[in-house]
Structures are given as structure tokens and as C-alpha cells.
Symmetry: C2
Subunit: 407 residues, 2 copies
């Protein structure tokens, strides 16, 4: 058996060592983060198909997983590039062979600028976003001193939102400032609808998508873009349908490169995004067989100290906890994957760093210390970043690969 | 300049690369987790002195930091051993030279047992805790089959607590079960007062400490312990004074090895443990110049999109978020450490994965994109685990070392 590499420089030994081919129910140290191959493959193909059907490119947000093996799967499925959130993330993606990097964030700080300058000098195609004149001047100076060009996208925001120009006047002033910096190349327009709110959220997102389209058209009409095919990009994993529809309705792809950037879709979830996906499918009944949750954390019952209570060896160190994890299935250690035991009525009541308090129903009299419970979580980003390795498993729960992360 | 190693196996590049000697305000990619040397050194010495003054040994909980360089500092300061929470953590500590490992947790699952068996076979002195007959039988069988001895401590819990025997009868039944397993060595008694609650929490903790003492004495009187000097251990970083006092009042060290296990003390915090420490100093005015916060995360203002709002490049990926982070100081990028700018009235209103929304007071008209803000957090464990490296800095904010973690 091949042993999955997990000893890094300096003899580092991380949680997550495993023999490839090992049985998740018998030969693997738990807790372990697990990705199921079948729903993963389904999601990869599904979102690529969705983007293409709407005339858009896909640049999946890599911050979700920071897992180069998944980036490669996304590119193989047809993705145009990888989106990242920070300069170190761009550097990590480039080190693993990703060449087109959309940093959907402001590039701030001389050390981070130096990192991106190194990537550009090494041949990366990098885009970052700008939303303020001061930052534009900082970038212009930094890259001019190094005789490099930096491609930037203007970020369009919303009042009381996150980053981004609040209005048309801000966008125009920024375009002016970019034009005054010879080192900067205005390559498009960027937005993020996930911070748009309104009484009718779907309507607010559609309005915002429309503003993005109109702003792109106005910048183009004013001759502001410095590239032949400017990028127009938005979308997380909750409202991608509305963004794609607005881009398609405006036939953006005749003139621009429309780019969608969902990240969480790749493993989906058992919380926030499952809800969001239900809304997508309600809005778009033509989209059949939607995304499927692929990420789970397997952990073992550690103690049964009193009736009705199981302490499971699963904590905030192991799984995202924006919402409490959800027990999905139970197995006997060493048992067969198809002989699942009940978790009906099991409920996580509290999560500490290394322990979950699980309330059991009265009927749960067959549970034993060592029982393995598969948990789902909301918001996959904050589960991925707790692991140096995630285990890719097949339907027989055999470990097919150990996927390294690079947070 | 020496470049701090941060490229692991497979060319992995993590956030946290830095030139040693670099100026934190000029040459370092932010956000970065930072440990200040002076308060760190103070805390290391302070807690060691506290333990010794109470006739107790110190086995700092390593799960807090999982930073071998800090484990070494703790041992150099006089610690008796390192406490860990899981088998993979024990393996990581052993791989970095720690020999005496107190796993203050149940050892569950055959893969985890195999990991501990390997450590014992390799010469580690490992203790783990037990609280149920089924787990005792599992361990007894597993280690007997390998002709190894496993040292266990009985865990004493409390009703509606976490793990641990709920009453004396449970303890006695467990001691009986351990005695029936030739591979198991009953080496002491363990407890954790952090999950003890009551109307008067301090009184409840003291009562629990007293129960621990009495239970240890009763087990000893019944000849249950299999070692010459059994261990009696408890204490996190909030109630260590009450535990130490109870151990000292009973002169436990005449017969037992009393062991305290605080973890968070090493870098202390700006939230939960700061409050707890105030209570300790109120209870014990003789303890002068208490623990000092040593851990901060430095991040940069990324956007100033509208009046009264700064978006800082700091998110749930970078800092613990049981409570919202606290802005402590501000610096101009490239400026001097002593020329701090005001953060009076700055307040983190919301934390996303990669962004903090900071509300600014009306007077904050001197802030600029790129300004560096030092943030404090509550509960250091959940900041450490977000980093592969933390930067040790001196008072001039020069990077003295890059400390690798092994989560």
C-alpha cells in the first residue's frame, strides 16, 4: 500500500495520515474529513455545464478548498481559471500549476504586492480588484518601479455592503485614477452579490447583477477598458443562477468574458448552501438533479458517560461550526458501509475544541464506544481549513486518495 | 537572511513565509499571527513558578498551540511533560522530541490505538484516560494482543458534564475492570474542572477538586494503583489556582504526582482567559504580575468604501471567533512600532471568512488603506489552529523566529 504523504519539512506529522485503500470504518485514525467521489464528480460536471449553458466561464473560488487536487479537477472539467482571495493563496495555487488566477480581492501591503509581482514575473496571468484611489496609486507606484503590468478589475459594491465602489461616480473616478497609472491595466469589472441585502433578496441580487451589466457597458462605451475582451465577474455559490441569467440576458459574452466564481458548490454542504440550492432549484425547475453534499467528517463515540448523552471525538478543530454539525449516519467500527445504524433523534447540543456533546433519544440503546458517526456541516470553507489532508473515498468507503490542502 | 522554512512536501507553500529579521510593519505578508517574546517568556516562567510553589508538576496542554518550539520552551522552563488531546497530537509531539505524553482524553478507535502503541514501542511514556468499562476492554484486548502495557488514568466527571465517571460506584467498577486487564496499568486519576458548573462556580470547582483528592486517596487506600507514584491531574487555564490549592492542602505530593495542565496560559488572551485571570488575581492577591496576552493577529486595512467603515483583510480563516476580535493598536505600513495611531472607538462588527467589517468613529479621518491593525482574540486555541506558522517578534516588531504548528 502507498502511504499518503503527510510528513512535511522538519518531520512534521499531521492528523490525516492514512494508507491508501484503507477502509474508513476500520483502518483510519478518526476524526477525518472525507470527500465522497460520486457527488464530487457530479458537482464538478454540474456547475461546469451550468456555466457553459449560460455562456459564462467558470473560475471556481479556490479559497473554499485550497486543495490543489480539486483545482486540477476543476480545470479538467473545463474551468477557465481559479479564483483566490489573497496573495499567499495565489502563490500556493501557482506553485501547484494554476496559471490564470483571479484574485477577487484588493491587493494590499507591499509584501503581498511583491508576492503577486513574483507570480506575474514568473508567467502567471493574475487579476486583482480595486475599489479606491489610494490603493490604485499604491499599486501603480509599486508595479511601475518593477516595470511590471498589473491587470485590475474595478469592484462594484453596494451601500452598507463590503468592499467596492458605492456608486457610478466612484467607478468613474476610479477608472480615471487607473488610467493615470501606466503600470495598471483595466481588465474588467468585478462584484460579489453575497453581501447584497434587501427585503426581497432575490430581487436585490438581480438588480445588482443588472447594475454590474450596465456599469460594464458604460465603462466600455467610455473606452475605459485596456484589454480586447474585458472580464465581467460575480457570483458565489448561493445566487449564481441570477448572476448567470443577467449576464446571459445582456449577451455579455458577445463583447466580454463573463466569469462565475462559485466555490462551495464543489462539495456543497448540509446547511446554508443546501438551503440556497433549494431556492435555486425552485427558481429554476429546469436545472435537474442539483448539487449534492460531498464533504463529511467521520468521528467516533468516545464516551457514554450517562443515559442520553454521547461524547463524540469531534470538535471545533475538526469541523465548521457556524452552525452545529448534523449527525448523518452511524457505523460500527470494522463494520460494512451498508450496515448503517440509526442516528434518528441524535442531536449535537454543544461543540468544544475537541468534543461534541450529542443528545441521544431514549431508544438509542445500541450505541457503543467506538461507533463511527458521519457528520455534515454548514459552509464547507470552514471545515476544509481545519485539515492538512482530506480523504477521498469511494462508495465502499475505501480511501482513494489523500488530498493535501495549502492553507 | 535566513528564510523561514514553509515549503513542505510536494512544494506546498503556506501563508506565513517570512524573512527572519524582517520588520513586521514593512516586510511581512499580512495577515500574520504574531507572538510577542516578552510576554511569552513571562508567562512560561510565571506558570512554572506557580506550579512549583504549589508542589505540583506542570504538563501544559499542548493542544492549545501544537507548536513544538513552544513545547520545547515549556520543557526548558521546567515542565514535567506535555498534555495532548488526541493520538495524532501525541504522535506529532513525540516526532518533535517530547517523551512524556499525557493524553487527557479517551483513546478510541483501533487506528488511534495503533498510533499510541507505536509510540509506546518507540519509548514514549504515554498516559491516557478511561471512563467506561467497554473502552477498558477494547484497550485491554488491543494492547494485550501486542504485548504492550498501556498506562491509564481514571477520569472523574460530574453529572451533566463531559466525559468521566459520574460517581464513586462508577470509579470503583472501572478500577475493577482495569484490574481485570493485564495489559492496562492504573497509573492515576484525572479530571477537568472546566466543565463543572454551579451557582457559585468557584465553590463548585473547589468541591470537585476535593472530590478528586478524596477519590485518589480512596483508590490508593484500596490498593488500586499499579504504580509507585500515581498521578493526580486536573486544571485548564481558568481555575488552576483552586485545583493547585486543593492538591496542596491535601499534601498530595507526599504520595502522588500532582499535575496541572493549563494550556492557554502560554500566550494568554484578550477575552475569556483575561477575565478568568482577573478572577484568579482577585482570589489570590499574592500572585503578582499575572499572565500577559502574547498572541495577536496583524492585518491591514483593505478598503475604506464608505464613511465610518473599514474592511480589514482579516477573517475567520485567520483568528479565533468565539468572540469578535478586538482592535488593539494601529500602525502605518513601513512606520515605526512606537508611532502607533489611534484605534479608539474602532469596533469589529462582523467577521467573514477573509474580511472584518470594522466600524470607525467619526474622528477616524487619518486612516488609510494599508494601515496595519493588531487584533486580540478570545481563546487562543482557535487562533493557533488557523496557522502553519506563527511569527515570534521582539519589542521592535522584528521577526525572531517562524514557529511551525503541527495540527
Amino acid at each position: 500500500m502507498k502511504r499518503a504523504a503527510n510528513a512535511g519539512a522538519g518531520g512534521r506529522v499531521d492528523k490525516g495520515t492514512v494508507e491508501l485503500g484503507a477502509d474508513l470504518l476500520g483502518g483510519v485514525s478518526l476524526p477525518a474529513a472525507v470527500i465522497h467521489e460520486a457527488p464530487l464528480a457530479h458537482n464538478l460536471a454540474w456547475m461546469q455545464r451550468f456555466a457553459e449553458a449560460h455562456g459564462a466561464r467558470l473560475a471556481p473560488h479556490g479559497k473554499t478548498t485550497m486543495t490543489p487536487a480539486l483545482f486540477r479537477r476543476q480545470l479538467e472539467a473545463g474551468a477557465w481559471g481559479i479564483t483566490l482571495a489573497t496573495a499567499p493563496q495565489c502563490r500556493a495555487a501557482f506553485a501547484h500549476g494554476m496559471r490564470r488566477l483571479l484574485m477577487a480581492n484588493q491587493l494590499v501591503g507591499r509584501a503581498n504586492m511583491a508576492m503577486v509581482a513574483e507570480l506575474i514575473a514568473a508567467g502567471a496571468e493574475v487579476y486583482c480588484v480595486v475599489d479606491g484611489v489610494e490603493n490604485v496609486r499604491q499599486l501603480g507606484r509599486f508595479f511601475a518601479e518593477r516595470d511590471l503590468k498589473l491587470a485590475v478589475l474595478i469592484e462594484l459594491g453596494v451601500p452598507v455592503g463590503r468592499c467596492g465602489c458605492r456608486d457610478q461616480a466612484g467607478v468613474e473616478a476610479l477608472a480615471e485614477a487607473i488610467a493615470a497609472e501606466p503600470a495598471l491595466v483595466l481588465a474588467g469589472l468585478e462584484g460579489y452579490e453575497g453581501v447584497v441585502h434587501g427585503e426581497d433578496p432575490a430581487a436585490a441580487v438581480s438588480d445588482y447583477a443588472q447594475r454590474l451589466v450596465e456599469t460594464a457597458l458604460a465603462l466600455d462605451a467610455a473606452g475605459r477598458f485596456d484589454v480586447a475582451e474585458p472580464i465581467v465577474t460575480a457570483s458565489g455559490s448561493a445566487w449564481y443562477d441570477l448572476i448567470a441569467e443577467a449576464f446571459q440576458a445582456a449577451s455579455l459574452d458577445d463583447r466580454f468574458v463573463p466569469v462565475l466564481r462559485p466555490g462551495c458548490y464543489v462539495v456543497h454542504d448540509h446547511g446554508l448552501y443546501r438551503e440556497a440550492q433549494r431556492d435555486v432549484l425552485r427558481r429554476r425547475p429546469d436545472l435537474q438533479h442539483g448539487l449534492e453534499p460531498a464533504l463529511e467528517v467521520f468521528a467516533q463515540v468516545q464516551s457514554l458517560p450517562e443515559p442520553g448523552l454521547a461524547i463524540v471525538a469531534l470538535g471545533k478543530r475538526d469541523i465548521g461550526h457556524d452552525q452545529l454539525p448534523v449527525p448523518l449516519r452511524r457505523y460500527r467500527e470494522g463494520g460494512a458501509p451498508d450496515a448503517t445504524l440509526s442516528v434518528a433523534g441524535w442531536q449535537v447540543a454543544k461543540l468544544m475544541d475537541q468534543h461534541a456533546f450529542v443528545h441521544l433519544p431514549d431508544a438509542a440503546d445500541d450505541v457503543t464506544v467506538g461507533d463511527i458517526v458521519a457528520f455534515g456541516a454548514s459552509h464547507p470553507c470552514l471545515t476544509f481549513d481545519k485539515w492538512h489532508h482530506l480523504l477521498l473515498v469511494n462508495e465502499a468507503l475505501e480511501v482513494q486518495d489523500s488530498l493535501a490542502t495549502c492553507f
